[in-house]
Amino acid sequence: MGHKVLMKGNEAIAEAAIKNGCLHFFGYPITPQTEISEYLAKRMPQVGGLCLQAESEVAAINMVMGAAASGSRVMTSSSSPGVSLKSEGISYIVGCDLPCVIVNIQRGGPGLGGIQPSQADYYQATKANGHGDLHLFVVAPASVQEMASLTGLAFDVADKYRTPAMILADGALGQMMEPVNFDIEEKTALPEKTWATNGHGGKRKKNIVNSLYMDPLDLENSIKARFARYDEIKANETRWEEVMVEDADIVMVAYGITSRICKTAINAARAKGIKVGLIRPITLWPFPSAALKKAAETAKHFMVCELNMGQMVDDVKVAIDCARPVSFYGRTGGVMPSAEEVLAEIEKIAGGLTK
């Protein structure tokens, strides 16, 4: 293990991007993610890279598209309202099968909303971050260490499967500091970008990066080919963490900062003799459905906790085919529940189970 540095989650993403060979960043300031831009504005010139502040999130994502099309490892970051602006570009990037990393340090919405931590963009990130049949590879870090390590994963998966990857975190994870080390695991070789538009040099046929198909059959085939890759991502890249699930009567499902609050509540509940565990999706898309389905064989009740009005809860119900009751507890608008609040909810459910 290398030495640790105390840094903010936002800074950890930025440094991890550089450590993973991303030397190009295009962004636009918005709270609570601006430290990513600020950090990279300082660091990129030191490593021969580029951090460019675009005129808008719309321009930034399209600069990302150009850089990705020409074969560069590239990243942009924003927070909820800014990610909505990027949606158009994200859809084009999917349609062109381009790899890149998009960071969303979520804040409360809709509209200008607020600037405090939120997970209200779960639907957007996992279902429809742009028009068309599409998915992004979505990772949800739960610590500053994971802000760094999952950034590396996001870049690798993006390159391997030619898909944009999203790091979906929130204002608390972006702003908080924890010790982090930047040891990078040994990596398998990634495919060469033979499709990149970087000048054919007279050595190959010209490359076209394009999302337009006038024949519906051609478009359908391109989408089917992409969904075949999505199946590979589902098979190979789904990640989750299980905590005390084996004997749990109640299985909580939570990700990101909320999973941390749940862990504290679970420990307190266990101390009171309540058998409760946690499944923490690390990838939100693909969703760890199989793990949930397996847990449904032994658990009596599922309890989903999110910083929104209930979004991932739908995926949990689908994953377990509604085989067990699924309840929801959440706070929204930038409010974070305390572990005591979550514990009270667990106790309520546990009380119902023993009746």
């Binding site: 609570p32 500091m177 924890e178």
Partner: protein, 178 residues
Amino acid sequence: MTTKILLAGFGGQGILFAGKQLAKTAMYSDLQVSWLPSYGPEMRGGAANCSVIISDEEIGSPIVTTPDVLIALNLPSFDKFEPTIVPGGLLIADSTLIAKESTRNDIRICRLPATGLAAENKLEGFANVIVLGQLLKQTGLFDYASFLDLMIKGIPASKSALIEKNKRALEIGYTYEV
């Protein structure tokens, strides 16, 4: 063993800096630590607070709602957070700015005129460090010398006056008898 510390006051009082010094020292002591600030416009003059959790095991929620230690540097923070201190916990209040006294009898109360001490010693702006000195004394959380050493290492050598002021402020806080 887990210690949950809440530092609260006005923006500009060095609340986040003080929390960061605790977090850094915890990291170099091979402990787990999380530092979670309030953020946004309040950083520019309104209320500021930060949660620091120091533990020898994995830290769950990084939000401190029931502090073991509350450092209150203004009256609104005192009013808001003093009732949340866990029984047996510790309150360190800047008595220069908080005239009100705690009526709780289930916590340890340490009233320290940090802002006044800073002014008397021409250390304006270092009340936060004075408070840290007293915190070390009251809790024994970290060794005084290693805490000081780490704090000084974070200051560029070119700012030797700043190093000296931090040193003096920490010492004044540490040696003050409440």
